[in-house]
């Protein structure tokens, strides 16, 4: 068993820019966070807030060109991944950091049998023989709850349903017992009942293997029961960072409050759903002040003029807002918004 203490992953001031015809798109602009061993970190935010780019940057899968990691350090197990040669990074991918993607329909190769896709990774990283890899593949399929794994291992992806394919993806990701599992919206393309099963599965496997997890999602319901820490992203920046419980109870940022209010409450009588007005800003033409100012209820003159500070509210709760303290107090006063 690996030690349960210490930092597994430390991201410092990561900046990933994309050069486009419209100018430089700052998809990720100065992200920092720490992930401890055995911990689950949730990253939430709207579409286009830089969640996925952050994680692709961690294992250096940003398409270049047009993308480029401009600056920052990604320290994994004491090693800066950004400084490693490509061949070394390839040894980390899949072996020590594994990923699960959003759409299980397209993330399996339609022309390869499940067995081939599952054995490829263990043969590549662990040097398994054909028989051993196959045995392992069947064991993994069994672990993720695919019935009759020995018979189904030779199926093609199109013979599986969406939920099954996502299980296969999870089996693939966990084949080499990675230290970090990055799940990029693993349940977005699935229906609600399957969603719950998949989340339950990730939780169970995480518990059994002690893997750290980064869970990217735009669904606050998903992160609530899954994560220890939360990172709220907006316009390529971290807007708020706190332990999950604390963030839900006392958000210190107007944007987080907006997100929380946007979750429909089935018991509420009100017929109209809340939504944050406006659209996320164009990342190629960010305003000088707070990127959320245009949509913010409490925006004042200073918000449009000056970029907000990253205010530390408690030792592990920070918020990017001029009025972080006020918002925090207000949330604490109101209880759940």
């Amino acid at each position: 068993m690996k030690s349960n203490k210490g930092n597994l992953l430390e991201v410092r001031d990561l900046r990933t820019y994309f050069e486009t015809e419209d100018g430089t798109v700052k998809a990720v602009d100065g992200i920092s966070f720490v992930l401890q061993r055995g911990e689950t970190l949730g990253i939430v935010g709207e579409s286009g807030s830089g969640k996925s780019v952050t994680n692709l940057s961690i294992i250096r899968l940003i398409p270049n060109p047009p993308g480029k990691i401009v600056s920052g350090e990604v320290i994994f197990n004491g090693q800066d991944i950004q400084l490693l040669p490509e061949s070394e990074v390839r040894k980390i991918r899949g072996r020590r950091i594994a990923m699960i993607f959003q759409d299980p329909m397209t993330s399996l190769n339609p022309f390869m049998k499940i067995s081939r896709q599952l054995t490829e990774i263990t043969q590549l990283h662990l040097g398994y023989s054909n028989e051993k890899a196959r045995e392992h593949a069947i064991k993994m399929l069994d672990t993720v709850g695919i019935p009759d794994a020995p018979a189904r291992v030779d199926s093609y992806p199109h013979e599986f349903s969406g939920g099954m394919r996502q299980r296969v993806m999870i089996a693939m990701a966990l084949s080499c017992e990675p230290e970090l599992l990055i799940a990029d919206e693993p349940t977005t393309a699935l229906d609600v009942t399957i969603q719950a099963q998949i989340l339950e599965l990730i939780k169970k496997l995480k518990h059994e293997t002690g893997t750290s997890v980064i869970l990217i999602t735009h669904d606050l319901g998903v992160v609530a029961g899954m994560t220890d820490h939360l990172l709220v992203m907006y316009a390529g920046k971290v807007f708020e960072q706190a332990p999950t419980r604390e963030l839900f109870a006392r958000p210190g940022n107007p944007y987080t409050r907006g997100l929380l209010r946007s979750v429909p409450d089935p018991t509420a009588e009100q017929s109209e759903l809340y939504q944050i007005p406006g659209l996320p800003p164009d990342l190629a033409r960010l305003p000088a002040g707070c990127p959320f100012a245009e949509r913010c209820e409490r925006a004042e003159e200073i918000c449009r003029r000056q970029f907000p500070p990253f205010v530390q509210l408690t030792p592990d709760h920070s918020s990017l807002c001029h009025f972080a303290g006020d918002v925090y107090q207000q949330s604490a006063h109101e209880g759940r918004p």
Partner: protein, 361 residues
């Protein structure tokens, strides 16, 4: 004038230009008998899964290949083409041996008796009586035409297949690498293809063949393979590049990269198999094209050299005596036309079977 109007009127009555809404007079365009309409195969798989997965039963989905094979068998022209191609291939391979065993004639056997050194019509013996000896007659030197046509078939099919293989190997790797790496590499590689494309390929082949003209007939043949193969990969490269461009942004490629698979492996293990449908189709359609080019070159005297024969060189010999000995042109001509038609039917059928959405209506 009056009569004119009358006929127009009666015609419209007999064949209405359009039918009222909701009463299609014929089957919808594009649907042929036996076509399977997939409303949404994705859904079908999912449903079966939900119903049977609980009981641990295996849903045996039909594989892509089996599906395609079934569709191919429903296409009569394609089946006809396939049968003819198989027959011609078998006849070309086995025919000359059988003829040699049966009559003692080989494709390049020239009789020693002076009386036999001329062209006899089909089914005729030297004394003018009926004979089974030369079903297609003989050529100017008294060689058995059937044996020569079959041996020509060997050469023609070989040229077609080997040149297509060459184009397949070069074209697929070239296109896949260009498409996957993209950017500047892609630009350089594909501009080179554009340049080669703009050159008239028949002239290139003729130049290649006459520059490296080989002394032996076999040598010339090898040169022909190389020359034809080296110009026919261009379209293949473009097709594969296009396929790879659309495939490389799919999530399974990202997933493969995220599991640490190396770039060459992604290109050749993950991407190339996915392009196989269009590649197979284009390859089957390349075979007849290359064969036709070979016939054309041999007809002009650049291709296959005697004593070897190909359909093109046989036709070239035959056309000189077309007025007196028409069978010398007719038999190789018919065989070639039939084979090329069949290959094209087969290729079209394969395209329809492997890629139903691409079907031309």
């Amino acid at each position: 004038m009056e009569e004119d109007k009358q006929t127009t009127h009666s015609r419209t009555q007999a064949e209405p230009a359009y039918t009222p809404l909701g009463t299609p007079s014929t089957t919808p365009v594009g649907l042929r008998e036996g076509d399977i309409i997939h409303t949404s195969p994705e859904l079908a798989v999912g449903e079966a899964d939900v119903r049977f997965a609980e009981r641990g039963e295996i849903v045996s989905g039909s594989s892509l290949g089996r599906d395609a094979w079934r569709r191919l068998l429903k296409n009569r022209l394609a089946v006809f083409g396939m049968i003819v191609v198989i027959l011609v291939t078998l006849a070309s391979i086995l025919g000359p041996f059988i003829i040699h065993k049966a009559t003692g004639y080989t494709p390049d056997y020239i009789p020693t008796e002076v009386g036999l050194l001329k062209s006899f019509p089909p089914f005729t013996s030297p004394n003018g009586a009926f004979s089974w000896k030369h079903p297609m007659g003989t050529d100017n030197q008294g060689r058995d035409l059937l044996a020569r046509v079959l041996q020509g078939g060997q050469i023609s099919l070989m040229v077609g297949i080997i040149s297509t293989l060459v184009s397949l190997i070069i074209g697929v790797s070239y296109g896949a690498v260009a498409g996957y790496l993209g950017g500047r590499v892609d630009n350089v590689l594909m501009r080179l293809v554009d340049v080669l494309y703009s050159l008239p390929y028949v002239i290139i082949v003729i130049v290649l063949l006459s520059m490296f003209r080989s002394q032996t007939a076999r040598g010339q043949l090898v040169l022909l393979f190389v020359a034809l193969g080296s110009v026919s990969w261009l379209t293949m490269a473009r097709i594969v590049r296009g396929q790879v461009l659309s495939l490389k942004n799919q999530e399974f490629v990202l997933a493969a990269r995220a599991t640490g698979v190396s770039t060459p492996r992604i290109i050749f293990r993950h991407l190339v198999p996915n392009t196989l449908g269009p590649v197979i189709v284009y390859a089957t359609l390349t075979i007849p094209t290359v064969m036709l080019t070979e016939a054309f070159l041999s007809f002009l005297g650049f291709g296959v050299q005697p004593p070897l024969a190909s359909w093109g060189s046989l036709a070239s010999d035959g056309i000189q005596n077309i007025a007196i000995f028409p069978w010398q042109l007719i038999f190789p001509g018919i065989t070639m036309a039939l084979t090329l038609f069949s290959l094209n039917f087969l290729g079209d059928g394969l395209r329809d079977a492997l890629d139903p959405q691409m079907r031309k209506f």
